[in-house]
């Protein structure tokens, strides 16, 4: 119970930080921001590592294995497409 309350505190406080982080975003940045935040939500990869690398059951390891594939696609692909989008903006500005 103690740990749960502590985690709940962290969750609520982090949510407030998240709410405050984004104020005014120009429309051109909507998709890249969404994409970048999406890549961060691939953090669940860390949970997948713990499941797949755990000692307890082979069945769980296979589930973890699938989770790692999914989460890695999210993380690697997510950060890469975000970078590609933002790179394009830079070029556009340079052309002016």
């Amino acid at each position: 119970m103690e740990a749960f309350i502590f985690n709940l505190f962290i969750f609520v406080l982090a949510s407030f930080v998240g709410f405050e982080l984004i104020t005014k975003v120009p429309p051109t940045l909507h998709t890249p921001l969404m994409s970048g935040a999406n890549a961060i939500s691939g953090i669940t990869l860390i949970g997948a590592l713990i499941i797949a690398g755990g000692p307890d059951s082979v069945y769980a390891q296979w589930i973890g294995f699938a989770a790692i594939i999914f989460a890695t696609i999210n993380v690697v692909g997510g950060f890469m497409v975000t970078d590609r989008m933002l790179e394009m903006f830079k070029k556009k500005e340079g052309e002016k």
Binding site: F4, G18, G36, I43, F79
Partner: protein
């Protein structure tokens, strides 16, 4: 273990500064790079966790995932970015559901307390909705599925009812975790809700929906963090969940719509579609 926590704290800082910088054109690219660095730190440090003893699944999974991710990210056309983000997001949400399922499977259900079971159920529910919802969003943008509004009469009521039932199943699961049927019903229903809630929404509103699903996948990751007792997951997931919600709202305003209007807009379209 303490050292791991300190590195997790550093990664968290990178995520916060990264998201902040992504919100402004001049700093956006560096923000993305900072966030990816934070991710790298988190992953590498986790591999030193004493609980992790088997690496064959980890290495194989990461190689396969990275290969697919890089291939998809390189191949995608600039105009097809929103649907690419949707797919990635779907995989992230699916991964969170799998993490909760895996943790539940590998441990004896009797050692879970009520909070652990509720968060397991929520992680599976939200993660699965994100998974199928994102794929429907992808299909709509790609034109595989009709871009218009596909809805049964009273679709919104059906969706609300199904969501209420799903939440009830989470509660049932928390009370009686060893009853397998409830677990599978919850999983199946969540996947179905993802399909049914996104299907009625018109193609033009898809970016807003993807942004909302992105917020969901953050919350799913956060719930998975509760299940595992992992700070980094809880914090990063909550950050994305909250920031994603704000961004969704901003995107709605840019289109002169409200979120309620986007999500339940099919009310007006029912007669056309039916």
């Amino acid at each position: 273990p303490n050292l791991i926590q300190i590195f997790y704290l550093i990664a968290t800082g990178f995520f916060i500064v990264g998201i902040k910088r992504l919100g402004s054109p001049a700093t956006a690219r560096s923000g993305n790079q900072l966030a990816s660095l934070g991710m790298l730190i988190g992953v590498v440090v986790t591999l030193f966790d004493r609980e992790i003893i088997a690496f064959e699944f980890i290495i194989a999974g990461m190689v396969i995932g990275a290969f697919i991710g890089i291939f998809a990210a390189k191949k995608v056309q600039m105009t097809a970015m929103p649907e690419m983000v949707a797919i990635f997001n779907g995989f992230g949400g699916g991964a969170s559901a799998l993490v909760a399922w895996g943790e539940f499977t590998r441990l004896d259900p009797s050692i879970f307390d009520t909070q652990g079971l509720v968060t397991t159920g929520l992680s599976i529910l939200i993660g699965s909705i994100t998974f199928t919802g994102s794929f429907i969003a992808f299909g709509k943008l790609k034109g595989f599925i009709g871009g218009g509004r596909i809805a049964l009469p009273g679709q919104n009521y059906i969706n609300l009812l199904l969501t209420a039932i799903a939440l009830g199943l989470v509660g049932w699961f928390a009370v009686d975790p060893e009853y397998q049927l409830v677990f599978w019903l919850l999983f199946g229903l969540a996947l179905l809700i993802g399909v049914l809630t996104v299907l009625p929404i018109g193609g033009a509103d898809m970016p807003v929906v993807i942004s909302l699903l992105n917020s969901y996948s953050g919350i799913a990751a956060s719930m998975a963090g509760f299940v595992l007792g992992n700070n980094l997951l809880i914090i990063s997931g909550a950050l994305v969940g909250a920031a994603g919600l704000i961004l969704t709202n901003i995107m709605c305003k840019a289109m002169n719509r409200t979120l309620i209007n986007v999500l339940f807009g099919a009310f007006g379209g029912v007669s056309d579609a039916g």
